[in-house]
Symmetry: C2
DNA sequence: GAGCTTTTGGTTGTGCACAATTTAATTGTG
DNA sequence: CACAATTAAATTGTGCACAACCAAAAGCTC
């Protein structure tokens, strides 16, 4: 591969080269740190709105798409019911959404914005600008980073599918 | 800015332009998704070792630096005792580390690798290579992404500090 | 229509992140 | 020495992520 050989040590055990573990840590670690740092900024900015960051994501989808069943909400956000069910109950408890069984399909639960939930959008409008300011990067750079992350996510998801069902061959 | 104006609607309220919320969602959302996708790959690769991803990070630090007090472990990983204490107890329960009060400073708890914990390193050596393969990117691209994320994290952390103590002025 | 599979949500349990509080040991100051 | 302030961990409580499992409702097939 195109991995540059370690210029320093290790003639003896190439596989035990500590650099492998260090390099790796920095990749995954950097992403983890960035994710949590982002979370920290959102935590501060959303405190006034009474929302957590995942709750904000749910509200964004509802503001953009209107009422949705839980299933579709989960598809937009890549979250399953184990995460969404309690989250939506808290949003309902806060008076921002209603959850009501569909009449046509009793299995489906439709999530609808209340008046209060719709009104909250006004106060959320300035959040993106403040986030952009916090990143200290211009929109073009942010866009490039986003594309790169999306490609990475696609590759990682594909790798997981391959790892899980590839070797076992079902 | 380079944000393309919405071709469709909204002449009335510029501040209510839905694009702001959409664009924003994609930045934070992409990072969140990438972080969780990475977590998914690690989950699969680390299952054999009996480690979760944060536990793996702790082990990486210990393999690299040797025994450390909880405080320093937390500084390396940006994690506090609320996260580390139960995590370390689980690692101790798995027989990978020991936790012992320092003799010189009874407040401090020193985390030490057991023989089993040290031995586990051998089996972890192949993880980075498999992660790199899963990303589908060459090391140079990964390195660039890492630098970008680190810069982003720095800017976000600075923004949080400013938001929290700047306005209030202590 | 009886019986099977699929779909949709919910529940439970484990583990992590983080804020807030608590305890014990140490340090600093009079 | 007494006493306040600081420090290191632990604990508690809330919320999210995800796996595993369950239940009810549709949809199918014969």
């Amino acid at each position: 591969m195109s991995v540059s050989p370690t210029p320093s040590a290790g003639p003896a055990t190439d596989a035990a080269d500590p650099d492998w573990l260090r390099l790796d840590r920095q990749i995954c670690f950097s992403l983890n740190a960035a994710s949590r740092a982002f979370n920290g900024v959102y935590r501060v900015l959303l405190k006034d709105l009474g929302l957590t960051y995942p709750q904000y994501l749910v509200m964004l989808v509802l503001w953009e798409r209107g009422a949705l069943p839980v299933k579709q909400l989960g598809e937009h956000l890549r979250l399953d019911s184990g995460t969404l069910s309690p989250l939506l109950k808290r949003l309902e408890g806060a008076g921002l959404v209603r959850r009501e069984r569909s009449a046509s399909d009793e299995r489906s639960v439709r999530v609808t914005l209340t008046g209060e939930g719709t009104a909250l959008r006004e106060r959320a409008l300035e959040v993106p600008r403040r986030i952009a300011a916090a990143t200290g990067a211009d929109p073009a750079e942010i866009g490039e980073l986003r594309d790169r992350l999306d490609r990475l996510t696609g590759a990682l998801d594909a790798a997981v599918r391959e790892l899980e069902q590839g070797p076992a061959a079902r």
